[in-house]
Amino acid sequence: MEALDILFTASLWAAVIRIASPLIFGTLGELICERAGVLNLGIEGIMTAGAFAGWLTVYLGGGLWMGVAVAALAGAMFGLLHGTLVVPLGLSQHVTGIGVTLLSTSLCYYAYRLVFPEVTSPPKIEPFQPLSVPVLSDIPLLGPALFQQSPLTYLAFAMVVAVSWFLYRTPAGLAVRTVGENPAAAEAQGMNVTTIRILAVMAGSALMGVGGSFITLSAFNSFFFEMMNGRGWICIALVVFSAWHPGKALLGALLFGLFDAYQLRLQQLASAAVPYQVFLMMPYVLSIIALIVMSRRVAYPRALMVPYRKGER
């Protein structure tokens, strides 16, 4: 198979969308936080928490959707922690975010070892099965790629529309955008900046949690340590790439998925000629390049990372 032929296989495009799904959730979640003016570096840990909590729920007998809901709830709780520390207390968003990541990751590992003190191979669950959309899934190439996916993937695409609508069409979305642009403006119109920011961080973190649960409930069927593997950090790069727009976030996640899926196949093709680590590095390197390319063009939320204190100028 030649390098270009890969582009015309349905399995490549199915993989693109599979790889993009958790990133879509994570990027949308981070995007909501940052639109409200809060950088959430807890994302890596929050996605881990979603992955673990969702998976554990299903393992202990809950339904798959129950697992997703618990993952969202776990995300929201860590969002509440991050929000409380950085919004009313005004702590450094960088340090707190790293702290939240360390905390939630280590809590998951601790809990995992509590529940499974002596397992050698990780316990498994029955994950989401692909849901074929009748008729549409029979379209050559596109059909299997777009319409034979996990239900969570469909949810991810729906969330793009929902988050866009929320931000640009609803009063609450306007409030979120305003507290991220100029909190004093929101305050002058009688809104509670602290509450709006914390709620936005919780909502965004809930989405991150769902993104994490995709990994354990759909992509894989068990929980491993280190399984998030920097996906959260990549989402943060994707938010910059998207210029804080949900639609472009989807585009970014898909582009990323394309590169990642393509390099995996290229890796098999290239076999020993190029060390496999070079291919594995590509996602991270690409994210950095995307940041450089986009950095000069974007207008980011003006109040991003600026703590707001009532009455202080």
Binding site: V95, G230, S287
Partner: protein, 349 residues
């Protein structure tokens, strides 16, 4: 709720709040320990015993503290200037790579020359890794947090590639590991038969040097000025980008030294498990020390004690050793909150 800046920082608050923060963190962990069915008092007792209860344990704690002092200093130096270096892990590994590249036979020099050569190589390696994100920050405005984080993954894959390629030890039975460094490169043990090595002393010296730079030198002043208010610093004529570049060299260099000291003092060669997250833990060490270079020594020993103690405890009490990481993370969050409250008063209306 609203925060009001305090006119004066009272000594009482400065001492009481951080202590309260640590107690709070311990209390959270006590609850988690109880979930496992064990008694928190017994578990904490075992941890203290495992970390400090014997000569062996105490020396082991200091051994573990050595790389943490280096990475803690790296974070403290960078954070002072608000250069958010979250990439000490990568810098540590590249420092270690430089050490094994130069120290496994390329330069057959006697130790008085080889040591400084290896130290400088390791520092250059670490500094180079941090220079890239710093350049991207000053030139293109790319947030260094994300780039340093992403580079951690790139660096680890790069090291893995080297260890399966050019740096692979042909006598290593196929394991991805480098050759041993020359005998002249190895740091002597401080106590014969124990693992504590000269790197610990050098780490403390490094802390003192950083402290002097911070307090006395023009560079230290510039770094603090840039960190507190880069705009005002620029207005006053302080070359902000140059200062950030120098900060990156210093911070990255210190993290590189952590790699050097682990290879030449402890492991002898480079493997992929050289660092169990020393780079990330360094951030905690720096924050617990409130970014004070000498405080880093104490907080590194504290954090090391938590890890060493938890390892020992989990062998006997059966509570997962991950409790150490939870403890360190909660300490970080409660400590940064406490530091904030030493400067502000909370008004509830």
């Amino acid at each position: 709720m609203r925060l009001e800046p305090l006119e004066k920082r009272s000594t009482f608050r400065m001492i009481a709040l951080p202590v309260l923060a640590l107690i709070f963190a311990m209390a959270i962990c006590a609850v988690l320990v109880m979930l496992s069915g064990a008694s928190p008092f017994q578990v904490f007792g075992l941890m203290v015993k495992g970390a400090l209860g014997s000569r062996f344990a105490a020396l082991e704690t200091l051994t573990r503290a050595t790389p943490l002092i280096f990475t803690g200093l790296a974070a403290a130096v960078a954070f002072r200037a608000k250069l958010w270096n979250i990439g000490a892990e990568a810098q540590l590994y590249i420092g270690a790579v430089m050490t094994v590249v130069m120290g496994t036979g390329l330069l057959p020099l006697p130790w008085p020359i080889l040591w400084p050569v290896l130290m400088i190589s390791a520092m250059l390696g670490g500094a180079l890794v941090l220079s890239v994100p710093t350049f991207l920050k000053t030139r293109f405005g790319v947030d260094e947090v994300v780039t340093t984080l992403l580079l951690n993954f790139v660096a680890l894959l790069f090291v893995s590639m080297l260890l399966e390629g050019v740096l692979k030890d042909p006598m290593g039975l196929g394991w991805p590991q480098s050759k041993k460094v020359l005998a002249d490169a190895v740091l002597p043990r401080l106590v014969s038969g124990k693992r504590l090595h000269l790197g610990f002393v050098i780490a403390i010296l490094a802390a003192v040097v950083v402290w002097i730079i911070d307090r006395r030198s023009a560079l230290g002043y510039e770094m603090r000025a840039v960190g507190h208010n880069a705009k005002a610093a620029h207005f006053a004529g302080i070359p902000v980008n140059t200062v950030l570049a120098k900060t990156a060299l210093l911070s990255g260099g210190l993290a590189g030294l952590a790699g050097w000291s682990e290879v030449t003092g402890l492991k002898g060669n480079l493997t992929l498990d050289l660092s169990p997250g020393f780079g990330y833990t360094g951030i905690v060490v720096a924050m617990l020390a409130m970014l004070h270079p000498l405080g880093v020594i104490a907080s590194a020993i504290f954090v090391a004690a938590v890890f060493v103690g938890a390892d020992a405890m989990s062998r006997t009490a059966g509570v997962p050793s991950y409790i150490a990481q939870v403890m360190v993370a909660t300490s970080l969050l409660s400590m940064v909150s406490a530091i904030m409250l030493t400067r502000y008063r909370v008004r509830w209306r």
